[in-house]
């Protein structure tokens, strides 16, 4: 592990500790929802990281198509993998909160649907990568899928806004939209900061790992070639 990563990881961990302190000991309990509301401070940062991760995948895909540098493909793939992990956490923590507060696990409203669609798109992206054996081909097809998939996200969001305005979702207790008091906002930002930095650490580690995997394979192939 390099010193940059050590610094980043320390920052992230410190912010996570601060987040725990703020969430569990400092900020007051939400009146109507009780303890379950605290999941919000991990749920929203995860959603943020997921979205950032998939955006990075799309951008790196574009850069790969422009340069054909395999490293860009590694960044894109690593970011999608991590994005899937964080989005999965969103899809788990969401219903955990919704069940006691809304009385249902799931509702097809704006954010839930767009998060689910995003998750499915990049899951398909990862499946595609698994099912194309040849590296250059895999990188190109994945890059195109990563870009086109990302383009759908704003449209899903718009579509849900139109639908939501017609059929208001059965939201009991406003929660997220109802304007946060400064201390709640600060707590949320600490969470976002912590997980974003953690995402960067994971991404760097994953890309380094992928580079090593490729380097090992190159060595094995070079050896096989000279003995052929």
């Amino acid at each position: 592990m390099r010193s940059t990563d050590r610094i980043l990881l320390t920052l992230s961990a410190a912010a996570m500790l601060a987040l725990c302190y703020l969430v569990f000991l400092y900020i007051p309990l939400e009146k109507t929802q009780g303890y379950i509301q605290k999941i919000f401070y991990i749920h929203v940062p995860c959603a943020w990281v997921g979205f950032v991760a998939f955006t990075v995948t799309a951008i790196m895909g574009g850069r790969y198509l422009a340069t054909r540098d395999p490293d860009h493909d590694r960044w894109a793939a690593a970011s999608a993998e991590i994005g899937i992990v964080f989005t999965t956490l969103v899809l788990i923590t969401g219903p955990m909160w919704a069940r006691p507060v809304w009385g249902i696990w799931w509702t097809w409203d704006i954010r839930l649907t767009s998060t689910l669609v995003l998750w499915l798109i990049y899951l398909a992206y990862l499946i595609l990568r698994q099912t194309v054996a040849e590296r250059d081909r895999r990188s190109v097809l994945a890059a195109v899928t990563g870009i086109i998939g990302w383009l759908g996200v704003p449209i899903v969001y718009l579509g849900n806004r139109v639908r939501a305005s017609q059929h208001p979702a059965p939201v009991v207790g406003g929660g997220e939209d109802s304007g946060l008091a400064p201390i709640f906002l600060a707590t949320l930002l600490v969470g976002v900061f912590s997980l974003t930095v953690f995402y960067i650490v994971l991404l760097r580690a994953r890309v380094r790992g992928a580079r090593l995997e490729d380097a090992i394979e190159e060595l094995q192939i070079a050896e096989g070639r000279d003995h052929a």
């Binding site: 054996a133 040849e134 250059d136 394979e217 094995q220 192939i221 096989g224 070639r225 052929a228």
Partner: protein, 237 residues
């Protein structure tokens, strides 16, 4: 003699397998080069690289003085390729197939051109028949007509004699010799060396992705022949 094509250290890897390794090749204008070797020796891989369909993993390739990595569109406009598959649409007639390719190559005066090419390969009378009803020999002739539509300076053929009867082979060899006499450079892969050695300028023997022999067709040395014949025998068993 002008150099049409120049490859240095050309290598291609598919997964972990080096299908082609460090092959050098020069082809001059109007020259005919035969690639010999058993199945899996790397002939098709080399042709796929020369036709710019695949990118080399290593090495440099210049065709018509253009870098094949960056200028494949310009190269393709001047190159004809008869692949192992016919590249023809079974559902279309001979004429429709050629018209389609003429449009893809941005050619003009398409009707006359297509008629000429069909005439050359002796398919004028079947022009309006669907390719689905064609014999292997007729498909191969139509495939050649397709590859020659845009009057390419370099013609590449992958195993053109496969599946043809003796008459078909003689016919095709004669057609290719004629193209040679018009000054067209030809690179072709085959394992039927007797079909090509008499009229090719040079032969290249590939074995497991490497070039093991290169010489004028008449100056194959004993070792080269032995390797090649052993491979052919191995393949037939």
């Amino acid at each position: 003699m002008d150099t049409l094509l120049s490859a240095r250290g050309l290598s291609r890897r598919y997964g972990r397998n080096w299908a082609l390794s460090r092959v050098d090749l020069e082809v001059g204008a109007g020259e005919v080069v035969a690639l010999l070797g058993a199945n899996g020796a790397g002939k098709s891989t080399l042709l796929n690289l020369l036709s710019t369909l695949h990118r080399p993993t290593e090495g440099t390739l210049e065709i018509f003085g253009l870098d094949a990595r960056h200028h494949h569109t310009r190269i393709r406009a001047r190159l004809g390729y008869v692949a192992h598959a016919t590249l023809l649409d079974d559902g279309l007639t001979a004429r429709e197939n050629l018209r389609y390719y003429a449009a893809l190559f941005g050619l003009t005066k398409v009707d006359r051109l297509v008629d000429e090419r069909l005439e050359e390969v002796g398919l004028s009378r079947r022009a309006h028949d669907r390719v689905a009803g064609f014999s292997r020999g007729m498909r191969q002739r139509l495939s050649l007509a397709r590859a020659l539509l845009h009057d390419p300076e370099l013609l590449i053929l992958d195993e053109p004699f496969t599946g043809l009867d003796a008459a078909g082979c003689r016919d095709l060899a004669a057609r290719l010799e004629e193209e040679k006499s018009k000054g067209r450079a030809i690179v072709l892969a085959t394992h039927q060396l007797e079909r090509v050695l008499s009229w090719s300028d040079r032969a290249l023997l590939l074995h497991r992705g490497r070039k093991v022999q290169e010489s004028g067709a008449d100056r194959y040395d004993a070792a080269g022949w032995a390797v090649h014949l052993a491979e052919v025998a191995e393949e037939r068993t």
